[in-house]
Symmetry: C2
Subunit: 139 residues, 2 copies
């Protein structure tokens, strides 16, 4: 199976129609684990054909997040970043440049059920903060 078919299949098995614009967003995220912003994705997709408007790029990111194929990472004071949820991983966010990097996955202990109360837990994510390698060297 080609990559293209694999992407198409993963979209459709998640209940998302595989349109050309949606495919382009997904393909870009799968070959770029650099956690681009929506603006960067919009720009990248528009270097190809078919093009995609800003609204469509945002709509498709929202649809892919809802389908669980893409994760949105909010960063303090900066634009949100996106990545394909292929392999489980945690995130490192740089205090200085705001870049988001993948960190190896490991299981996180669940909160005590008394502490959880009536809440329904969907996932636990670990965010590491500090200076990324590039910014650490510069300081």
């Amino acid at each position: 199976m080609t990559d293209a078919e694999a992407i198409k299949l993963s979209l459709e098995s998640s209940g998302v129609r595989c349109t050309a614009q949606r495919y382009a967003v997904m393909a870009f995220l799968m070959e770029n684990n650099r956690h681009p912003t929506a603006a960067e994705i919009f720009e990248a997709v528009n270097r190809m054909d078919p093009r995609s408007s800003r609204a469509t790029t945002y709509n498709n990111l929202r649809d892919l997040v809802q389908a669980g194929l893409v994760r949105e990472v909010a960063v303090e004071g900066r634009a949100a970043r996106f990545d394909a949820t292929g392999m489980k991983h945690h995130h490192f966010i740089c205090d200085h440049c705001g870049n988001v990097e993948d960190m190896d996955w490991y299981d996180v202990p669940r909160p005590a059920s008394v502490s959880l109360g009536e809440r329904i837990l969907r996932e636990s994510e670990l965010i590491f903060r500090g200076l990324c390698a590039k910014c650490a060297l510069r300081q």
Copy 2:
């Protein structure tokens, strides 16, 4: 020591001058562990005297975050939220309403140093996601 004196002292020992506007922001956050947005803090402070402009509210939040007295929590698709970093805690973010709630603290395992590489780790935070008690009951 009164609460007011304690707040003043904690600001000054963190190298932040205790102005009336800055005090108001800090006092509001200390008596409200509901993780208000900047807009909510701005509004709350302006029900008191002296008032504070929007720019000052944002400036002071930034100063308090830099001093380590306040934490900013970015939430996907919503305004950032703030809380006083009094006691260590983790956060629960509701998928549905976006509210941020405190969760009991427990130590998080450090990433393996090989995985960390040249990065400098400052802190590890755990974010739980799902439905808060209120939204869980409604679904």
